[in-house]
Each structure stands twice: as C-alpha cells, then as structure tokens.
Symmetry: C2
Subunit: 321 residues, 2 copies
C-alpha cells in the first residue's frame, strides 16, 4: 500500500491493519509493499476484473457500522464476479477517509478480511487517501477460458430466475436507524453475501446472468436489452421473505422487491432443457432459486398478476446525502 | 461501467465519453458494459496490478485543468508498472465527481484516453460515484514470468540511478496559479510521463527499482530499506534541470529535488558490470539517466557534497486542501 501523502503514524496504522504477514495464496508472487503486485494466473483461465466504489451518504448512511462498510466494499465486487460465474482471487483497496483513526481502520479491516478470508481472497495492494469516508475496491478472479456467463445470452423460452429475496436489503436499509425491526432485513443490507458458489455452479446451465444492484425491474431491463429480448413476468412468483412481508405488507414488499436495489442477488436465465439440472443443483444451496418469468422475443418487460397485465411503480427509493 | 445510482442523463453522458465502440486490444474478451471485464493473459507472463487514487485538494489543487487530471490519474498508475519493468494492458476507472457535467467528463476523458492510447491501454471497466472530484485507477499489466524488478534486489556496490529531473514537478506545481514561469516545469507536474519504455528496458540490468512519488530522499530510504542496504550519495551529481535552477536557484532546487515529490521518475540500482549496457541503452532514451550514488552495506542515506557530509533538509512541501 503506497505511503503517499501521509505521516508515519498513519503509515504504521495502515500497515498494522492491512499488511498481513504473508498471503495464504501461493499465486501471489509479490503482494503489498512494492510499486505493484505480481500474481500468477494458471493456464486455461480468463482473468475477470470488477471495480466498484462505495461512499458514505451515497451508498450507505452515516452511522453505518464500519465493519459492515468493510464487508460491503468487497461484497459488491465479489457479487460482480459471481455474476460472471467466476471465482475470486485477489483484491486491491483504495481507502478514503477524513483522517486515519485506529478504530476506523480496525473495524473496516475486520469486515473486509472476514469476507476476504471466507473466499480466500488475498489483498494485494491499494492506496489510502484523505477524503470522504469510502472505499474503491478492484477484485480479480478467474473463469475457465471462454466460460464466463455474460448478459447477452438469454434466448426466447428461457426461464428467468433469481436467488434469494429481493427487497430485503432496501427494507433493512430503511430500518437502520430505527429501534426494533427485523435483524435479518438489516443484515441483508449491511452484510450482503456474494453468491459465488451459486454463480460458479451455473456455468453450463445459465444462458445469461447479472447481479441485482439497482433493483430487479431495472436490472431485468438491462439483461433483456443486452440479450435483445423481452420478458413476461409473474408478480405472484416473486420470492418475498416473510420478514419483508411482516415489516411492510404485500404491496410495499412487491415495490421494494422490484425497485429497491442493493440486493446483490443473481438474476439469470436458464434454457428449459436445463431446469432439471438446476433443480438438483439448487437443492444444495443455502439460498433459494425462484423462477419468476420467461424470456420472450418482443422487447420490454411485461408483468402479470393473476392473468392481468400489471404496471410496476418504479419510483426509486431515496438515497442518503 | 456500472450505471448504479444515477439518472439516465448521467449514464448517457458517461457512455458517450468512456464507452468506446470496441477495444483495440484483442486480449479484451469482454470490456465495459457487463458485470465484470474478461481479459486474456498470454502464457509465460505474470500479472502486474497497481491501484492509485488522486483527489482534488490532496493530490492536485482546485483549478487544475481537467485534461491533466485525466492524464495524471492514469499516469501515476502506469508509473508503478514502469517501476516493475512491466508493460501495461488494461485499466479500470472509478470516477468521483460532485455531479456529472459534460465538460468535466469530456476533458477528463480526453486526458485519460490520450495517454491510454499512447500505450495501447484498454479501459475495461469501472464505476462512477457522486463525491468530491477525484479518480481511482487500477492498471493491470504483464511481465515475463519471474522477471519483475522489485525493491529488494539492491546490493552493496551497485550504482544508484535516476531518470529525468527530480524537483521539476513540485516547482511546476507551486507555479500553477502564477502567471509567467516555466511551461516545462508546469507540464512536469500536470502531465508526468510514465517511464514505461525505460522500465522495461531495465529488465536484466537493474537489480532494484521503484518510482519516485514521495520525493527522492524518502523513496531512496524505502528502496534501501527493502534491500537491507544503505547508500552513499553525491549531491553534486543530482540532475537539476536548467528550468528548475533558473526558477528557484541552486539551494531550493536541491531541496525540491530531494523532497518535492510527484516526480514519477524511475529510481534504480545497477551492478557495475551492467553499466556499459545501461549506457548503450540510455543513449536511445528521450530522458537522461544519471548516477547519483552507490549502494553500501551500512543502513542509512549519506549525502556528500565536495567530500563533506551533507544533511538534507527534509521538510515536506505543503499540500493543498
């Protein structure tokens, strides 16, 4: 990690929390501490790279636990790798903070490394700068050569599937500063779990995939547009969690599931001939996979409820700042 | 580039300036527009990754030309690759800005891509967020397997060399808001040229290398510490530019060369047996290479001037903000 523009104390603090004795990964030839990291990709693999930034007041409200911020900064990037069917390898972190405080760095690092360790991701470098609280992470991963799952492969007739319970994250976010409420909903926002295992298992099964970060309806539109298709969707099949239904009721739950954002679940399409394989696979998952519709040739998203056309309310949920 | 948290206009603007029709690089399997980028590294190469951020008020003063910020955000990262002896391949950009303005994006992109195109670097992805003006860039490059030049290989007796004219950049920075002054000095700060050609040529010649970003004296200390050595340095041999000498005089020029920072020149050590090869090589360079001292076994940096010990004044030059 470059020690640019920083006093000795700050350098020491950052070393203490981010520079670990040695990487557990043998493919890291040279990690933090030089001008750049040197890593080694096994033959037969393509490199997969994603970059995402989160900042206070934009992506999380002031007062969000620092451990959660560390977790999320990495999780949203791992979710991008999951959506390609890739496995993660290495991460770089550019940390922005008003000033270096031991408590801040310790908690952020605890959240970041708990998730990194769970997936054997090595932190190989980065930078720290003075600025508003936030973090920009770049993750690198690998996928078998030519076997990534992009957004453009959906075909008419394919089923449309999602993992998990969309809407939980936004409901959790709106509950952050309230007493009571559902811990599960809050955790969905604070500690999204990247669906890496599920994403990799879908190689050879899913025809197209992406992660839901901007809301199911908006992201569905992107997936269909990239594939040159449209979709017929069944509102009643939306997998709404009991916690979400209990917290906000059916109508708001549907609205949150469609346009809430921050879900970091997988949205994917599966040819009908692979549905039996998917069903077998998904039995071993800790997160449900639910079919919510069918890819069609005509463009556009068409929602149905009990046989009638239904128009979603697409108002965006307010952000902070 | 993820379209997260952003209206349609902003997405359109960003597409216009950053999403180019197709990459000129055939090793980019999937570029901007999906969840992650897919790239292909030829066999026999190690991957080299560097991340650096620049923000207004910290790394450049308010009012710095936007084109220069675009250039610098990439240049400081390419300089890290140069310091490993690597060649650049791909870049990811996380752009932070108070709000999307066409003029801002156009000028930033012009500076970024002019440098990217000069080195055939493909922009493969990134993110844009609302925040203070700044940019975090991750560059990926390659080096022949096991042939990177790290910081730890300097050995007693090796010569210590630098490229270019240290001190010019800080002098240029201090002149930014003044009329008159030297255009060459200002350009040194605004448009640092990554020494990629020189860095690669030094493979097999240099025993250790890094780029100077925090000031020659401080960075020399890091190089020697990483190598477990010290250095004897000759102040009179510092390659001070005529423009720097004319602008600030000999004493201040020396001080700026030693602790100015922002130079982005290469600092490297060369075994004496390779000096003839280096001399032949350097004749083809557009930037001079100058020997400024010798690696010694005892730790610490010892500057000499006309045979007497000389203690550098190591005050840091003030930053902005």
């Amino acid at each position: 990690m470059a020690a640019q523009r920083r006093g000795l104390d700050e350098t020491t603090l950052i070393r203490r929390y981010f520079q670990r004795p040695a990487s557990s990964r043998r493919d890291v030839v040279l990690g933090i501490g030089d001008d750049a990291a040197i890593t080694r990709l096994p033959p037969g693999l393509d490199l997969v790279t994603a970059t995402d930034a989160i900042f206070e007041g934009v992506h999380y409200p002031p007062g969000t636990p620092l451990r959660a911020i560390g977790h999320r900064s990495l999780a949203i990037n791992l979710s991008d790798l999951a959506a390609m069917g890739a496995r993660p390898l290495w991460a770089s972190l550019a940390l922005s903070q008003p000033r270096a405080r031991a408590a801040w760095l310790r908690e952020f690092a605890a959240g970041f490394f708990a998730l990194a360790d769970a997936w054997q991701v090595a932190l190989i470098g980065g930078d720290t700068v003075r600025g508003p609280q936030g973090a920009t992470v770049t993750v690198q991963g690998a996928v078998r050569r030519g076997h990534h799952i992009g957004r453009s492969g959906a075909r008419p007739g394919d089923g449309i599937w999602i993992t998990g319970h969309p809407g939980d994250a936004v409901a959790g976010r709106l509950q952050l500063d309230r007493r009571g409420g559902s811990r599960k909903l809050r955790q969905s926002f604070l500690y999204p779990q990247p669906r890496l295992r599920e994403g990799r298992a879908l190689a050879g099964i899913a025809s197209a995939m992406m992660d839901i970060s901007d809301g199911l309806h908006e992201d569905l539109g992107k997936l269909m547009q990239a594939s040159g298709c449209g979709a017929m969707l069944d509102l009643a099949s939306l997998p709404l969690s009991p916690q979400l239904l209990a917290a906000v009721g059916l109508e708001a739950a549907r609205e949150m599931a469609l346009s809430g954002g921050d879900d970091y679940e997988l949205l994917f399409t599966v040819p009908v001939r692979h549905e039996a394989r998917l069903a077998r696979l998904a039995r071993g998952w800790t997160v449900p996979a639910t079919r919510i519709g069918t890819v069609r040739k005509p463009p556009g998203l068409h929602w149905q409820l009990e046989g009638s056309a239904w128009t979603p309310c697409t108002r965006a949920f307010q952000h902070f700042g």
